[in-house]
Symmetry: D2
Subunit: 263 residues, 4 copies
């Protein structure tokens, strides 16, 4: 019976329009990610996969994307990720393939004074573009931080407005880079990093540290950019910061995109 | 031809299960809301409408909800809102009806020192429950504010962490209450209210005001509650506050629900 | 130094307003959930934890919530979940505690004809209310399904509009219930269940099955309700269905809340 | 006093990093949009505004963005929109400016058989890039449609799976183009357009029309592309379609970006 069912997707198309990207989105799948310490971390990812489609094919075969994703079992190891694009190119007979994984990543962090440990979560994404034998990998870490306004500090008799900000730092690199190191680079660029557990001595410490290190949203992206430019394993980066201003109901943001230290 | 099309919804149902609420959701519709100053404000609302369904009917008539919504034209005046539920009860032959409108509401506010004017937006919702001749109306204002942590201020040599918070304040009342007054009540309960335009002298003022008025999330809901209890036109209220902590990646929240000053 | 830092939260409060619920929200934490097959599944949860606060205390101790969450390590086992509320009652000196966990849950499912396996994801939540020695646990499964409109089928010469719907089914029970069984109950109540991998013979099967089993949103909640009423381990349930109508830009929805078969 | 407050933003910066874009985001503001019929429509927009920042300035002046937005009053007329960027370039002493407005747009549409009128809502955005005297304007319409699967129809004995899809169609053009015409172009490219009010004869009509016009997500973007290529007022376009598959819990999507008919 299988052979009798019309393969509509394989029919020719006459409109002469090639499709840049066609595939599936918003698929949830378990993922195992390598940790700097040597272990592996289980998490849950939201997946998108796509290929190009030449003008003469009517449609792609959507079920093959999901089959390729499952071809290594019901849990994806991050090591298999670039292999995925090779399989997509092959199974979908495509010239270009694109896959992306977005997932929460957990880091256990000690409070700065008491040393109490707590788990911090960060949103991370991997994107792979494949074309023939070439692979282009981009990693993005989304890092929440505290920012304290230099202007507010300078003009006020006491206090300074501060708030949570979110930094999205994307990099392309020459040798593998640890997620933990990218997050650390961003956290060192803010007024203060965030913690999940803070006892009173810790809260005193982070309050004063933020007050002593005021940064505009512009400073935040420049601090990240200056560090990224100095690192010779980074080929390209883009950093965007968004401050959820505590004095406004709108957000401040800034973006810088530059070649990295290896260029 | 119209009469020949089967009316599936009107067929009897044998499962013996009455439905509490059935209707439509996530409908967008233009709305005109009264302002305290006497004018009318045009905005855009997200609408939900529902009725109960006795166990012996297979289905309700979904298109009638939308027809009732349109029965006054292509713009809903807030004065017609409670009339809507009466029409729903009638057209859908129901015992109970429920409608809700969620919309942005704009207030022009002067900066505290320079007096520069800016437009602040607030999310507001109206909900009407109707049963026979009874109408139960609830208004909710969602008000963004600044909160400064009393503990951080007390233990730190300088500065204090602060952040944006969001207060959701729902009230039922004896006589009509202005949206503007509910928002004002909440803004007066926080460390500082928010503005859309702040020049440097204004920023100095709001920074110092917040520093001088530290509130925990608990204080914030209690400040709102104390004011609401004192107001004899409020019959019932619920206040929830959520702080987007600038030292954590999670939020702090608190909730109080109480009879109002008229009870 | 620890003892010298002011404990602002412990100060007395004069407003006389008890707080219903105060705590933390939107915390991400790794979670391990039991599977019906005997295994354990690693996933990622979004956590909220709260307690009541008597009127005479100024504030709760927010860091203790996170410490209690971490007290069993950096991964929460679902078995420890009700123990959590006991610890919260104790550490926060509270009368009532509330914890909730929302997480994606994965089930490997075979396509109906070819048997090809694919991983389906479902959003699940656990909520525990604790008061003294009493525990009240509620489990909710959010199950995406296909619904095909009975009216559209009855009146049309060919075809029938259908769409994705989302059923949220919450239950309280007498003995532990498997997540997998709750999901199955919902999937059996729709026009057709969803799959992640479908080859052409499978697609033919699910298309025809949906066409042969039309359900209104009202039928969907009644089908779930009829099954839940018949199950003597369910004490109470609430089912809400929302259809993302393929002929409208708004959604249809229905809700039923009833005692379960054990009542 | 104004002159005495430190202007931190005006201080020199030594890091040598120019910022691509700095500004404000997620600001809500009332907007008036021209309708094809000659009238004006009041709606509510979410606004972002940004400029570039040379490497030698420490910060931009955030409050000026909001002042420029307000410079024409408390309601923005769409005619003033490109003037906004000129003012930004001037007030912020910038080389490049970027503004975007995202808003719901309403169209009254008659049901296909009964002619009953209902209001449909569409998300629309305007983006202007300005550099010196040059202006580059892009309009995007987000149009919900119905799509019916050609493969499912071809292989099934009865019925065919269909679902809501969302098409995002962005264009740059030589002469002003009406929002209504862009939406119409997209609606004509799908299996069937959506309506807010449909009586039974209308529902029969849209069900059969969708069944008679099956389109893959690939067909949908190609149909839009073919029409856009034929229109000599379009200079460039990008069309993305996403189908909320009724047989899967993930979405299918496709993207095409091409020069328009005027190139």
């Amino acid at each position: 019976m299988l052979v009798e069912l019309t393969d509509t997707q394989n029919q020719p198309d006459e409109r002469g329009i090639a499709i840049d990207r066609v595939g599936v989105k918003e698929l949830q799948f378990p993922l195992e990610v390598l940790e700097k310490g040597g272990g592996k971390q289980r998490t849950v990812s939201t997946v998108a996969m796509a290929v190009d489609l030449p003008h003469h094919f009517k449609g792609t075969h959507m079920s093959r994307f999901v089959e390729v994703l499952h071809s290594h079992g019901t849990l994806l190891d991050v090591n298999n990720m670039s292999g995925l694009t090779a399989e997509l190119l092959d199974r979908l007979e495509a010239e270009r393939a694109h896959v992306s994984f977005r997932f929460p990543f957990f880091i256990t962090k000690a409070a700065p004074v008491t040393g109490r440990e707590g788990v911090m979560s960060y949103e991370v994404s991997f994107e792979v573009e494949a074309s023939g034998q070439e692979r282009d990998l981009m990693v993005t870490v989304h890092v929440p931080v505290a920012t304290l306004c230099p202007c507010s500090k300078a003009i006020s008799a006491r206090g300074a407005h501060n708030q949570r900000g979110l930094v999205s730092f994307s990099v392309k690199f020459n040798r593998p880079i640890w997620i933990e190191d990218l997050i650390r680079l961003v956290e060192d660029s803010a007024s203060c990093e965030l913690y999940s557990v803070l006892k009173r001595p810790d809260e005193k410490e982070v309050t004063e540290r933020a007050y002593d290190n005021p940064v505009f949203v512009e400073d935040l992206v420049r601090n990240v950019a200056a560090r990224a430019r100095a690192q010779d394993d980074i080929r390209w980066f883009r950093v965007e910061a968004e401050n959820f201003e505590s004095i406004h109901n709108h957000n401040a943001y800034a973006v810088v995109e530059l070649p990295g230290g290896s260029s």
